[in-house]
C-alpha cells in the first residue's frame, strides 16, 4: 500500500474489514465503538491483523496491541498508520 494513504482512508478500510470479515455487528457499530465489547477475541484479533496485513502490507507487532490501541477502529487505525509511517 502507498505510504500516502491518509488516516481517514485507513480508518475506513479497517472499519470495512471489521464489519465484513471479522465481527458480526449491526448498524449501531461505528468507528468509535469498543472492539472488545463488540466481541473481538484472540482469534478474531489475529484474523483482523492478518486482514490488515493483506490490505496494507504491514504486520503490526502483537506487542503493540493493548487495551488502549484496541479500544476502537479509530485507535487501531492510528496505530497502524503510525507503523506505516
Amino acid at each position: 500500500m502507498s505510504r500516502e494513504v491518509t488516516r481517514e482512508e485507513l480508518e475506513q478500510r479497517i472499519f470495512d474489514i471489521v464489519r465484513e470479515g471479522v465481527l458480526s455487528v449491526d448498524d449501531a457499530f461505528t468507528k468509535e465503538s469498543n472492539l472488545i465489547e463488540a466481541g473481538l477475541d484472540s482469534l478474531a484479533l489475529t484474523q483482523l491483523m492478518l486482514a490488515i496485513e493483506e490490505s496494507t502490507g504491514v504486520w503490526v507487532d502483537e506487542s503493540l496491541l493493548t487495551e488502549e490501541t484496541l479500544e476502537s477502529v479509530v485507535t487501531l487505525s492510528a496505530l497502524v498508520h503510525q507503523v506505516l509511517e
Binding site: 455487528v25 457499530f29 466481541g39 473481538l40 477475541d41 484472540s42 482469534l43 489475529t46 502483537e62 487495551e67
Partner: protein, 460 residues
C-alpha cells in the same frame, strides 16, 4: 437464521462428533463417559427447592438437555433427537448430605472439593437415552459455609463457553421469574451443522482438501511423537480427581497482568499454556525421562464474534502446539515459540481446516477419530489437555439466593494422557484446576507441578 421452536432433530456439530469419538473410546476402555463438569461454590442462602423448580422449568422448555444422541439410520450424521426427548424434567439433581470435615494442607480456600463431584465425573452417562446433564448439590460447613454445586454433562452438549452461558441463564432466571426459560438454538443454513466464524465452502472437494491439510498438519507432528505422563492408551477404569489451586485478589491479578504482558493483551492463554508445559516438564525431569516433544491442543471458540450466543453443542476448533523439552527451559522463549506457532496456524487457515476435518467425522463411525489420532501418535493422543477460559460467567453473580463465590471448570480427560490443566478467572481471582487420572501422576509429582506452576505464575 431462524430459531427453532419445533422438536426437530438437530445435527451434532463436527466438534460434537470429535468428542463423541472419545466418548466411545472412554466407554470401551475406561467404563466411564467423556464428561465435563463445572463447579459453583456458593455463599449462604441457597434455596434448594427454588433450584429444583428452576432446573425443571429449564429442562421442560429445552428438550435438547434430555434428547438421545443417535443416528436416524446406519449412515448419516448423528443427531440430537429432540423428537425423542425423554419426558421432562429428565435432568437429575441429587442433594447430598454435608460431608465430614477433612483437613488438607492443599485444600482450596473454600474447603475441600466434595467427593461426590469426583464420583460424578467418573460416572457413565447414557447419551443414547438422553442422559446428558446432572447436578450435584452439597452443603458446605467450615469457615466458609454455603453450598457447592457441580454441573456435569456429556461433553458434546455444551462447550466451555456454552456452559458458562447456561449458568448465566440459570442465574438470570433465578433472579427474574418472568424471564423466558427457553434458550434459542440457531439452525445453520445450507446444510451446515452449525453457524460458525469459519464457514466451510460448499464444494466437498475443497472441504476434502482442507481436511487433508489438517491431516498433514497432525502427521507432521508425529515425526517427534508426544508422550503423556500416563503413557499410551491402555484399558483401565477411569478414576479422575482434580485439585484446585486458587490465586486470590492481588496474587491473581498480578498473575493475569504478567500473562498479558508476556504473551499479549488478548492472548494470555499462551502464557498459561507455557506454564502448563513447564509443569509437565518438571515431572518428566523428576522421572528422568525426556519425551521427543510435548504436543498439546488449544480449543478455539468458533462462535461468530459479536452477535451470537449459542449455548448448546460444541462450537470449537483446535490449534495444536508442539515444543521440545529444550524449548520449555526458558518461559519467555517458550511463549515466543507458542506465539509463532499460533500465528502460523491461523495464517495457514488451520482453524478452518480443523473444522473441515471434524465435519467429516460426523459421517464416520464414532471410534474412527480417536483410533486415527492415537495411531498417528503411537497410542498417545496428546501430552495433556489444556484450556483457558477468560472471566467465568461474568453476568452470573448469584444463584437461587446465594452469591457465587468461586466457579471453575473441571473437564474429564481420558486415562491417556491422564492430565489436564484448566485456567479460569472469576472476579480477578485465578483458579488453576488440575484434573488427573489416579496413577498417572504420583502425589509427590503433583507437588512438583504445583510448585512449578506457582513459581511461573508469580515470576519468582
Amino acid at each position: 437464521m431462524p430459531h427453532s421452536r419445533n422438536p426437530e432433530p438437530l445435527p451434532l456439530t463436527g466438534a460434537d462428533c470429535f468428542l463423541r469419538a472419545f466418548e466411545a473410546e472412554v466407554r470401551r476402555t475406561a467404563k466411564a463417559s467423556h464428561l465435563s463438569q463445572l463447579v459453583l461454590r456458593l455463599g449462604p442462602g441457597f434455596d434448594g427447592e427454588a433450584f429444583r423448580r428452576l432446573i425443571d422449568e429449564v429442562s421442560r422448555t429445552n428438550p435438547i438437555v434430555r434428547s438421545p444422541i443417535r443416528r436416524r439410520a446406519v449412515v448419516g450424521a448423528p443427531l440430537y433427537r429432540l423428537d425423542l426427548a425423554a419426558p421432562a424434567p429428565g435432568v437429575r439433581i441429587e442433594f447430598h448430605p454435608a460431608p465430614a470435615p477433612r483437613e488438607s494442607a492443599s485444600a482450596p480456600p473454600l474447603g475441600a472439593i466434595p467427593e461426590e463431584f469426583f464420583r460424578r465425573l467418573n460416572d457413565r452417562f447414557d447419551a443414547r437415552r438422553g442422559k446428558l446433564l446432572c447436578f450435584d448439590v452439597v452443603p458446605r460447613g467450615g469457615a466458609h459455609p454455603g453450598t457447592d454445586i457441580a454441573m456435569t454433562w456429556q461433553h458434546m452438549l455444551l462447550d466451555g463457553t456454552g456452559s458458562e452461558f447456561f449458568v448465566e441463564h440459570l442465574a438470570a432466571c433465578s433472579a427474574d421469574p418472568s424471564r423466558e426459560r427457553e434458550i434459542p438454538i440457531t439452525r445453520a443454513e445450507g446444510g451446515a451443522s452449525s453457524p460458525a466464524v469459519a464457514e466451510l465452502p460448499g464444494a466437498s472437494g475443497v472441504r476434502g482438501r482442507m481436511a487433508q491439510t489438517w491431516h498433514n498438519y497432525m502427521q507432521a507432528m508425529a515425526a517427534k511423537p508426544p508422550a503423556s505422563l500416563a503413557g499410551p492408551l491402555r484399558v483401565v477404569r477411569q478414576d479422575l480427581r482434580y485439585d484446585e489451586l486458587r490465586l486470590e485478589g492481588a496474587s491473581g491479578t498480578a498473575a493475569m497482568e504478567r500473562a498479558k504482558k508476556m504473551a499479549g493483551f488478548l492472548t494470555p492463554m499462551l502464557f498459561f499454556l507455557a506454564v502448563s508445559l513447564r509443569a509437565h516438564q518438571a515431572v518428566a525431569d523428576r522421572r528422568g525421562t525426556s519425551p521427543a516433544s510435548w504436543v498439546v491442543p488449544l480449543p478455539v471458540n468458533l462462535r461468530p464474534k459479536g452477535s451470537q450466543r449459542e449455548v448448546f453443542r460444541t462450537h470449537v476448533s483446535l490449534l495444536w502446539f508442539q515444543v521440545t523439552p529444550e524449548q520449555t527451559r526458558d518461559l519467555a522463549g517458550l511463549i515466543e515459540v507458542l506465539k509463532a506457532q499460533r500465528l502460523a496456524a491461523i495464517r495457514n487457515k488451520l482453524v478452518e481446516a480443523g473444522v473441515a476435518a471434524m465435519d467429516f467425522a460426523r459421517y464416520a463411525p464414532a471410534r474412527v477419530y480417536s483410533h486415527m489420532a492415537r495411531r498417528t501418535f503411537g497410542g498417545e493422543l496428546a501430552s495433556f489437555f489444556f484450556a483457558y477460559t477468560a472471566e467465568f460467567a461474568v453476568a452470573a453473580e448469584s444463584l437461587c439466593g446465594a452469591a457465587i463465590l468461586d466457579a471453575f471448570h473441571a473437564p474429564s480427560v481420558p486415562a491417556s494422557p491422564g492430565s489436564a490443566l484448566v485456567f479460569c478467572l472469576r472476579g480477578g481471582d485465578l483458579d488453576v484446576v488440575h484434573v488427573h487420572q489416579r496413577g498417572a501422576v504420583e502425589d509427590a509429582e503433583l507437588g512438583v507441578m504445583r510448585a512449578q506452576i506457582l513459581h511461573d505464575l508469580a515470576g519468582a
